[in-house]
Subunit: 189 residues, 2 copies
DNA sequence: GTCTATATTTTGATAGAC
DNA sequence: GTCTATCAAAATATAGAC
C-alpha cells in the first residue's frame, strides 16, 4: 500500500475518470489515453484494474475510520464531536473529491477487499450512531429516532464531493461552519 | 413512452439489477437471465440497452418536476411547501426505490435524452431554490447561503432510496414527518 | 415471443522487442 | 518504462427458424 509516484499518477488520473463515468464504464484504454501512454504500459505499474479501485477506496475508508476514532476519544460535548465529524468530511472531500465518487458509488465492485471495506463502513456508522445516542442521553440532542438523524447527516456529508467543485469560492472552514449550522440547528427560524 | 406489460417487466427487473451494480456493469445477458429468457429475446420488446435506462430516468425526472410544479403554485407557507417536497421524495422513493438508483447514479449514460434530463434537473433545483429564497424573504427561514440549505436537504432526499429498504417497518408518512423535523429544525436541542 | 447462431466490437490482460 | 502485436473472453445487437 505504498505506491510509486507513477502508480499514484495512474490512480489520480483514474479517479477523475471514475468520477465522471463510474468504474465500470472506464476502460484501461481510457486511463492510458489520459496518461498519454498505451494500455499495456499500465500493467508495468499496476496488477490489474481492480487494484486501482481498491487503492482509491480503501485508503479513503481508512482515513475516515482513523478520523472518527480520534474524535470519539476526545473530551468534548457530543455536539462538538459532530461538528468535528462534519469538518472531517469537508476536509477529506476537499482534498480528494474524485476519490469520494468511487467510495460512494463503486465500492460494490471491490473483490479481494470488499469484506474489509464493509467492516470499516459498519464500524464508522456505529461510532457515528453511538455519538448521536450519547448526545440524546446527555440531553444535547433531540430524542428523535437516531437512525433518521444519522442517515440525514451522513447523506449530506457523503454527497459533498458533488458539490464542492461547484463552490470553489467558499473556503473549507466557512463551509464546515455553515454546514454545521444547517445540519445541527436546521433552517427554520 | 407507453410501454407494453412485457416491456415494463424488463424495465422493472433491469432497475433492480442497475441498483445493485450500476447500469454499466449489468449486461443484457444479466437482464435476460433474471427474466428467464435469452438476451436476444429482449430485443423483441426494447430497441437497445439505452432505452431501458432512458425510460427509468426520464419517467422519474418527470414525476419530480410535475410534483414540485404543483407544490410551488399552492397557496401555502414556504415551510409547508418544503414539507410537501420532502413528502414527495419519500413517496416516489418508496414506490420506485430501484429506479431512484439509476436517476442518481447513471444519468450520465443517457445519450438521446441527456440534454432533456439536464433541463429537467436544473428546473427542479431552480424551483426548489426559489422556494427557499422566498422563505428567507418572508422571514420563515434563516438567512444562510440558500445553496447550502438546498444542497443539504436535497442530498438527504436523493439518498432516501438507499435507506428506505432497510426501514420497511417505518411507514411513509411517519418517515416524512420525522425527516421534516430533522431537516427543517435540526437535531440540536 | 423465444430460440439458436452468429457478426462485430470492445475489453482486460499478456508476451516479447526496444 | 513504453511499445506493437495479439489473445481470449465478454459485450451489444441482428437474422432467421419455429
Amino acid at each position: 500500500m505504498n505506491p510509486t509516484p507513477r502508480k499514484l499518477e495512474i490512480i489520480t488520473i483514474a479517479s477523475a475518470l471514475f468520477k465522471d463515468k463510474g468504474f465500470s464504464a472506464v476502460t484501461m484504454r481510457d486511463i492510458a489515453k489520459a496518461m498519454g501512454i498505451k494500455a499495456a504500459s499500465l500493467y508495468n505499474h499496476i496488477k490489474n484494474k481492480e487494484e486501482i479501485l481498491t487503492f482509491i477506496i480503501i485508503s479513503l475508508a481508512e482515513e475516515f475510520i482513523n478520523g472518527i476514532d480520534e474524535i470519539k476519544e476526545e473530551n468534548n460535548t457530543c455536539i462538538d464531536k459532530l461538528k468535528k465529524i462534519i469538518a472531517l468530511h469537508v476536509d477529506i472531500a476537499t482534498r480528494n473529491t474524485n476519490g469520494m465518487a468511487s467510495l460512494n458509488n463503486d465500492w460494490m465492485h471491490l473483490k479481494d477487499q470488499l469484506d474489509y471495506y464493509l467492516t470499516l463502513r459498519v464500524n464508522y456508522e456505529d461510532t457515528f450512531r453511538t455519538i448521536i445516542n450519547e448526545g440524546i442521553k446527555k440531553n444535547e440532542i433531540k430524542s428523535i429516532n437516531s437512525d433518521i438523524m444519522l442517515f440525514s447527516i451522513l447523506s449530506t456529508l457523503r454527497s459533498l464531493y458533488i458539490w464542492i467543485p461547484q463552490k470553489e469560492d467558499m473556503n473549507s472552514s466557512l463551509l464546515a461552519t455553515n454546514l454545521s449550522e444547517v445540519l445541527l440547528k436546521g433552517i427554520n427560524k
